[in-house]
Symmetry: C2
Subunit: 351 residues, 2 copies
Amino acid sequence: MSRTGTRSGKPTLTDVAARAGVSATTASYILNGRTLEMRISSDTEERVQLAAQELGYRPNRTAQSLRTASTRIIGVVTDYVAGGMFSARILAGANAAARQQDHVLMIGETDGDTRTTTELVHEFVDRQVDGLLFVARTTSSIRLPQGLAGTRVVTVNCIDTSSPYPSVLPDDRGGGRRAAEALIGAGLTDGIVVVGEDTTTEALAGVRVDGLVERLAEDGVRVAARLECPWNLDDAYGALAGWLDRGGRPRAVVCLNDRVAWGVYHALADVPLAVPGEVSVISFDGSELGRWMRPTLASVALPFFEMGQEAVRILLDPAEKESVVMDMPLLPGDSMAAPFAAPLSGVEREG
Amino acid sequence: MSRTGTRSGKPTLTDVAARAGVSATTASYILNGRTLEMRISSDTEERVQLAAQELGYRPNRTAQSLRTASTRIIGVVTDYVAGGMFSARILAGANAAARQQDHVLMIGETDGDTRTTTELVHEFVDRQVDGLLFVARTTSSIRLPQGLAGTRVVTVNCIDTSSPYPSVLPDDRGGGRRAAEALIGAGLTDGIVVVGEDTTTEALAGVRVDGLVERLAEDGVRVAARLECPWNLDDAYGALAGWLDRGGRPRAVVCLNDRVAWGVYHALADVPLAVPGEVSVISFDGSELGRWMRPTLASVALPFFEMGQEAVRILLDPAEKESVVMDMPLLPGDSMAAPFAAPLSGVEREG
DNA sequence: TTGAAAGCGGTACCAT
DNA sequence: ATGGTACCGCTTTCAA
């Protein structure tokens, strides 16, 4: 009465072979579509395919992995999965690219802890991942742990300057230039105030303002005021409100990120100064927050989804060795005077 | 000259055994801490540990998995990884619980597509995951695909009523009651208007308003107006603005989610009506958006992190069969009149 | 106290 | 055109 002799539920390759009356070898070649290298009669092929079908055969990936030393798993070590939608967007991009190449993502969160990071790396390496992605929520400099020899690595939104691994970073200088071009294009060539400090001084970010100033200068435009403050609502509010109190009057405010812009909106509303009627606002991030603001915020976007995609592409291509910086596109919003005021969807206007 | 004879880089259990001058069997028992079941001389034990240390031995998880038929991997099938921070928070909670029990998360995104879902499930089952989590961004009803026999499953923030698997859902009725208690506690017993439709009509959500009304009634309090609208900024703005135009004057607004609350803030500001001076606002979600609003938003929070944690706990406990609903705690905010107005941090007040 | 040997489910070399 | 067999690295039964 015994069927094909397997005790557990799932049919194995041997079961399929038995049912088709061939050897496991033959079945293996056929089911892997390698029917050309081996010469297989189309009759045999059909019998095997049919048997597999009938049994509902699915290959055991674990066994395949053990034998081939390739798991088709990409390990993702991220500082904060939950930290805002940023890491999540990178994850989504990485996942999309991974699925496209028949890979799957395994994730781990470090909370920024070095020890946890090391443990996770071990965990992933023990599991024979085909490659490792290091993902940071905020563009930053990191230090990769030991034990990575023989593992492909790509760092996303972060970089270990003492490692030879490729990285994927946003092009912050280019982003700064793009913001400048938006201002120039809208005829906003004076009364430009920049809010927020340009943090990381390395070849990472920190070049946002450089790019902005540089591109403005090419058209003979100068920044009227530079208000340094941490990247959050309350500090940005305080910085701009103080400046306005002292009689400052801007025509355009450039915010170093969207949270800063949120604070800037509040400060402008206190005066009040209408956006974009009296003052245009442009920012960096392209976050969801900007979509919630009214008027919606024009923002030079961090291309996180694309960065995740690109990182996997590089990781999986043995030929790729080079780091890349990704273009930061302008996400249009109603906070800029024409020609950037075209609304994408119907929203209420002020008075 | 040949060392222990392994060609590839990583030392194997056999290598360790050879170096310690014992059999693989012995080495295996020692390295797995099963030194009690087997009687091993402490001398042998030391030699093996030392050898492992010196070689930098790490067990090959793939081989272990093949042999033991347990991967210590949990597959997470989610509709939208990137969709707001909600799925991400569930993921973070699941990950925390998983790591604690020496498991790791493998993720996949379906974009809400049935076909993709089925493919992912196959992918994960082929990879011998120890269990599967189905995660939805929005509390909802789903239909699980075939091929799950023999796999442990828990649905998180969603439920397949035709399946026997446990689910983890927020206690929306309890959440509604909690909002009611907050209102009553603040003495807000008239002029209560509820904004937003109570979508899902099943035993899922839809009971938020039920809970609210029910608890209010227990204190003889009634809702003054019910404004149905989709859960987004513009519709909520429109709904409340229209009602205010018609002369409506609320003392408290209950918003079905935080995006609705944001629209409500805008509508109130137009009149203007001060929050919380003239009108108190309470909402549901406990999202980041609420933390950004000024005044910060009091909101009955969806405990996503905890739901993720709990789901993994249930998944990994063979004894657990029951679904659970998770308490929705009140996240305090400055949008409620005393005694809920105590600010958590110094923020600006309106004139 | 310890080791030999048989797999777990595939893949791939080498015969036939 | 197809099948035998060794092996990937580890666990576990059984014998010594």
